[in-house]
Amino acid sequence: MSDLRELYQTTILDHNKQPRNFRVPEGANREATGHNPLCGDRVTVYVRLEDGVVEDVGFQGNGCAISTASASLMTQAVKGHTVAEVQKLFDAFHELVTSDPQHEVDESGVGKLAVLAGVREYPVRVKCATLAWHTLRAALAGGATTVKTE
C-alpha cells in the first residue's frame, strides 16, 4: 500500500474528490475537449484568454483520479499566467511525469504539480496525467477542438 500512496497522494485524492475550478468560467473565449479512447476519459477545458494571459480557467468532464486531479491542479497552476509561461510549465510537467523513475524527481519549476511524479512508475497512466494539459494547449492554440492522448 505504501507504493500506492506514492501515486495516490493525499493531494491527488483530495483534488479527485473535490476538483477545483470544475466549472465553465464566465466569459470563456477558448475551449477544447480531450479524449483518452483507451479508458473513455473525457475532459473539456475552458479559458478566458485576455492579452495573452489566462485570466480564468476551468474544466468539465469525467475521468480517473489521476486525470481529474491533474486537471484540477493544472487550473490552479496556470491561472494568471501568460501563454508562454503555461507552455514552460507544461514542458516541465511533461518532463516530470515521463522522466526515468530511477532518477531523482526534478521538482524545480513545477511547484505543486510535483505530487503527480508518482505516475512515472506507471507508464500507461502518464496519458491520464497529461490529458488536461494537451487539451489546454489545444484550447490556447485555438485550432483543433478535440485532442486525443492515444
Binding site: L13, R42, C64, I66, R125
Partner: protein, 406 residues
C-alpha cells in the same frame, strides 16, 4: 468432478513470476490466456527441429512441417465439431475470421437496402466489419437489444427479421458480461427464414464445450491466443457449402490454382482463403493447446470456472459500492464491475500494485458500455489456472481501493 488445480498451475511457467513485487494473480484471461508448457514446448520444438516452408517444399522436412500444419487443422475440426477439416480456415484471429466473412461472403450476398443483425453486446470485432460492409454496400445494421441482467432480448429477434435480412452476427459468449447466448435458438430462428448465422466464438471456445453442428451455426470464429495457444493464429469454421461458394478475399501465393496475366484460377477450400505463407508455428502451437485442453476436458474447465465465478460473485457482492454487470443465468467466468466513486482505471492500478492483473476500460464494447451508461468497467476474468486464492486477493485489494478513495 474437479481437477487438480495445483497441477494445472504448475504447467504455466508465468504464474511463478511476480508483478510489482507480489505473486502474480492473473485475472485477464478474457483478454488473452497464458500459455501452458505444452504449447511453449511445441512452438519451440517446431522452430528447433521441424521448421520449413509449408505446402511448397519437395523435401522431407517441408513435408513433415506441412503434415503438422494440416494436423492442427484436423485438431480444430475435432475441437469445434466440424464435419470436415476443409471447413477450417486458418486466419490471424477471430477478428480476421469475421472480416473474411464480411468481405468474401458479405460482398457477394449483402447489397443496397439489405440488413445485417448484430446485438448490443458485441465486441467491436463483430460490429465494425459489418458496419464497413454496410457502408460500402448501402446496407444497414439492426441491433438486437439486451436486458439489464445481460441476457439478449430474444423475444425481440423475430421482429427484427425482414425480407432484407442477410445474416445474423452474434457472440457466443460476451467478453464483458460473460453471458452465454442461446445460439442454437438464434440459428433456428434465422434458418427458418433462410438467413445464415455467424458466431463470434473468441470467448466461448476456451470456456465451454463447442459443437458447431449442434449449435447449427454457419460460421464460427476463434482466436488461438485466447485458447491458451500462440498469438497471431485463429480460425474460421464455415459450412463447406457456403465456403465453396465464397470468392477469395486476399490474393497471393498458395491461394491459386494457376496464374497467368490473362487469367488466374483459384484453389479450392480452404486454401483459397489462405494467401501467403501461413503462421505455421502458430497453428502447431494452437494444435498443442487443443490437445492440452482436450486432456483436461472442456466440460471440466467450464465447471471449474463456473464454481470460481459463483465464489467470486459472492465475494464481490459483499463489498460496499461494487456493482457487477452481467447476471445472466448461463454465464462464464467474467466479472465486470464498477466501484462507486472509484474510476475503473484507478481500480486497475490499485490491483496492479497488489500483483493482480485485470482489464479496465471499455473492453472494445463501447455500445455495450453506453447501454449501461458507464464509460468504463473493471473486469476480472477467469482461466483454467485460477483458484480461490486469486479471487480472495482480488476482493481484499478491492476493499483497499474502496478504503483509499473513501
Amino acid at each position: 468432478m474437479s481437477f487438480d488445480i495445483a497441477a494445472v498451475r504448475k504447467q504455466f511457467p508465468i504464474l511463478a513470476r511476480t508483478q510489482r513485487g507480489k505473486p502474480l494473480a492473473y485475472l485477464d484471461t478474457a483478454a488473452t490466456a497464458q500459455k501452458p508448457r505444452a504449447v511453449i514446448d511445441a512452438v519451440s520444438d517446431f522452430y528447433a527441429n521441424r521448421y520449413a516452408s509449408i505446402h511448397r517444399g519437395v523435401y522431407e522436412l517441408s513435408e513433415s512441417a506441412t503434415l503438422l500444419y494440416e494436423g492442427a487443422r484436423e485438431k480444430l475440426r475435432a475441437f469445434l465439431g466440424a464435419r470436415e477439416a476443409r471447413e477450417i480456415v486458418f486466419v490471424r484471429n477471430a477478428t480476421e475470421a469475421i472480416n473474411l466473412v464480411a468481405w468474401s461472403w458479405g460482398r457477394r450476398n449483402v447489397g443496397a437496402g439489405d440488413e445485417v443483425i448484430v446485438t448490443t453486446m458485441e465486441h467491436h470485432a463483430n460490429i465494425v466489419p459489418w458496419q464497413m460492409l454496410c457502408e460500402e454496400r448501402g446496407a444497414r445494421l439492426r441491433v438486437l437489444p439486451i436486458r439489464d441482467d445481460g441476457e439478449l432480448e430474444l423475444e425481440a429477434l423475430p421482429g427484427l427479421f425482414t425480407e432484407r435480412t442477410r445474416i445474423v452476427a452474434v457472440t457466443h459468449v460476451s467478453n464483458v458480461l460473460g453471458t452465454i447466448n442461446p445460439v442454437r435458438e438464434i440459428a433456428a430462428l434465422a434458418h427458418a427464414r433462410g438467413v445464415p448465422v455467424l458466431v463470434d466464438g473468441a470467448q466461448a471456445a476456451p470456456r465451454i464445450p463447442v459443437d458447431v453442428r449442434e449449435l447449427g451455426c454457419d460460421f464460427y470464429a476463434v482466436s488461438g491466443h485466447k485458447l491458451y495457444g500462440p498469438s497471431g493464429i485463429g480460425a474460421l469454421y464455415a459450412r463447406a457449402e457456403l465456403l465453396e461458394a465464397m470468392p477469395p478475399w486476399q490474393g497471393g501465393g498458395s491461394m491459386i490454382e494457376s496464374v497467368s496475366f490473362d487469367k488466374t484460377t483459384y484453389a479450392g477450400v480452404p486454401t483459397r482463403f489462405e494467401a501467403g505463407s501461413p503462421n505455421a508455428e502458430g497453428a502447431v502451437g494452437l494444435g498443442a493447446a487443443l490437445d492440452w485442453l482436450g486432456q483436461i476436458g472442456m466440460q471440466r474447465i467450464a465447471q471449474h470456472e463456473r464454481e470460481l465465478l459463483d465464489y467470486g460473485t459472492r465475494l464481490l457482492d459483499e463489498i460496499p459500492g461494487v456493482r457487477i454487470y452481467g447476471r445472466a443465468g448461463a454465464k462464464t467466468g467474467v466479472l465486470s464491475f464498477t466501484i462507486a466513486g472509484v474510476h475503473a482505471h484507478d481500480v486497475g492500478t490499485v490491483l496492479d500494485g497488489e500483483g493482480i492483473a485485470i482489464r479496465a476500460g471499455h473492453h472494445c464494447a463501447q455500445p455495450l458500455m453506453e447501454r449501461y451508461g458507464v464509460a468504463a468497467t473493471a473486469r476480472a476474468s477467469l482461466g483454467v489456472y485460477n483458484d480461490r486464492d486469486d479471487l480472495e486477493r482480488l476482493a481484499q485489494a478491492l476493499r483497499k481501493a474502496v478504503e483509499l478513495f473513501r
